[in-house]
C-alpha cells in the first residue's frame, strides 16, 4: 500500500497563512516560515490593542473636554468634580460630543459644574 501524505492539507494551510500575511514587508509576506510568526504576532497586538482602545478613546475625550473647559475658564479636574457634586452622570464621551456639537448646552453644563465646585469648596 502506498504511503499516505497530507500534501493537499499542508498546501491549504500555507496558502491560508500567506493570504493572512498579505501586504506585510519583505519576507514576512512571501515566506511561510516568517509569515507564520508575523501573523501570530499580529494577533497578539490585535488582542492587546482592542483592550487598549478603550483607554485611548477615554484619553481623547479627556483631552477634548479639557480644551472645552479651558476656553470657559475652568480646569478639567474641577469641571468633573463639580459635575460629581451636582450628581450629573454623563460620561466623558457624551460630554465631549456635546462640547463639539452643542456649545450652548456645554456652556450650561460648565456653569453647573462651576457653581457646584465653588459651593463644595466653601
Amino acid at each position: 500500500m502506498p504511503r499516505a501524505r497530507n500534501g493537499a492539507a499542508r498546501h491549504r494551510k500555507k496558502v491560508r497563512i500567506l493570504k493572512a500575511a498579505r501586504g506585510y514587508r519583505g519576507a514576512r509576506s512571501k515566506q511561510y516560515r516568517t509569515a507564520k510568526d508575523a501573523i501570530f504576532r499580529a494577533g497578539v497586538y490585535a488582542f492587546r490593542d482592542r483592550r487598549a482602545r478603550k483607554g485611548d478613546f477615554r484619553s481623547l475625550w479627556v483631552t477634548r473636554l479639557s480644551a472645552a473647559c479651558e476656553m470657559r475658564g475652568i480646569g478639567y479636574s474641577r469641571f468633573i468634580y463639580g459635575l460629581k457634586q451636582a450628581s450629573i452622570i454623563i460620561n466623558r464621551k457624551m460630554l465631549s460630543e456635546i462640547a463639539i456639537d452643542d456649545p450652548a448646552a456645554f456652556d450650561a453644563i460648565t456653569e453647573i459644574a462651576k457653581a457646584n465646585q465653588a459651593a463644595a469648596a466653601a
Binding site: L60, A67, E70
Partner: protein
C-alpha cells in the same frame, strides 16, 4: 465598535477651521511661551481635537529677539549637532544661536515639544517667527493672543 454604539466625532479636512493667532514674544519666557504655541499648533485647545488630523491653528510670533532667557541658561545651553563624520559631534552654544538666529531658539523649543512624526512636522510649518514687529501675514487677520 459594536452595533448600536455611537462613534466619537472625528475631525476631517472638510471640518477643520484653522485660524491665525499673533503673539508678541517681548519679555516672554522661552519655555512657557513654547508650551502654549505647541498646544495651539497641535489643536489641543479645540474640543474637536483629533490626533490623526491636523486641527491646529497658525501662530505668528513677532519680536522673537526680545524673548526673555536667563543669562545662566544662555551660557549653559547647547545645541548638539552631528556632521556624520567620525568624531563629528559638535555643540553650538545657545548664546551664539540666540545672537545670530533668535527665531531658531524658539523654533527648536517648540519643535521638541511637537509629536515626532509626519503630522508633527506638518503642524510645525504653521509656526511663523519674525524678528521685530513686522510680519507678512496681515491678510490672514491674525487675532492677538491674551495672556
Amino acid at each position: 465598535m459594536t452595533i448600536g454604539t455611537m462613534p466619537s466625532t472625528m475631525a476631517n479636512s472638510a471640518s477643520v477651521r484653522s485660524s491665525w493667532h499673533i503673539v508678541d514674544a517681548t519679555e516672554q519666557s522661552l519655555g512657557r511661551l513654547a508650551v502654549k504655541i505647541a498646544h495651539v499648533l497641535m489643536g489641543k485647545h479645540k474640543p474637536i481635537y483629533t490626533p490623526h488630523v491636523d486641527t491646529g491653528d497658525f501662530v505668528v510670533v513677532t519680536n522673537v529677539e526680545k524673548l526673555s532667557i536667563s543669562a545662566k541658561k544662555l551660557d549653559a545651553g547647547v545645541y548638539p549637532r552631528y556632521t556624520y563624520h567620525p568624531g563629528g559631534y559638535k555643540e553650538i552654544p545657545m548664546r551664539k544661536v540666540f545672537d545670530e538666529r533668535p527665531d531658531r531658539v524658539l523654533y527648536e523649543a517648540v519643535r521638541r515639544m511637537m509629536p515626532k512624526n509626519a503630522i508633527g512636522r506638518r503642524m510645525l510649518k504653521k509656526l511663523k517667527l519674525y524678528r521685530g514687529d513686522k510680519h507678512p501675514h496681515s491678510a490672514q487677520q491674525p487675532s492677538p493672543w491674551a495672556f
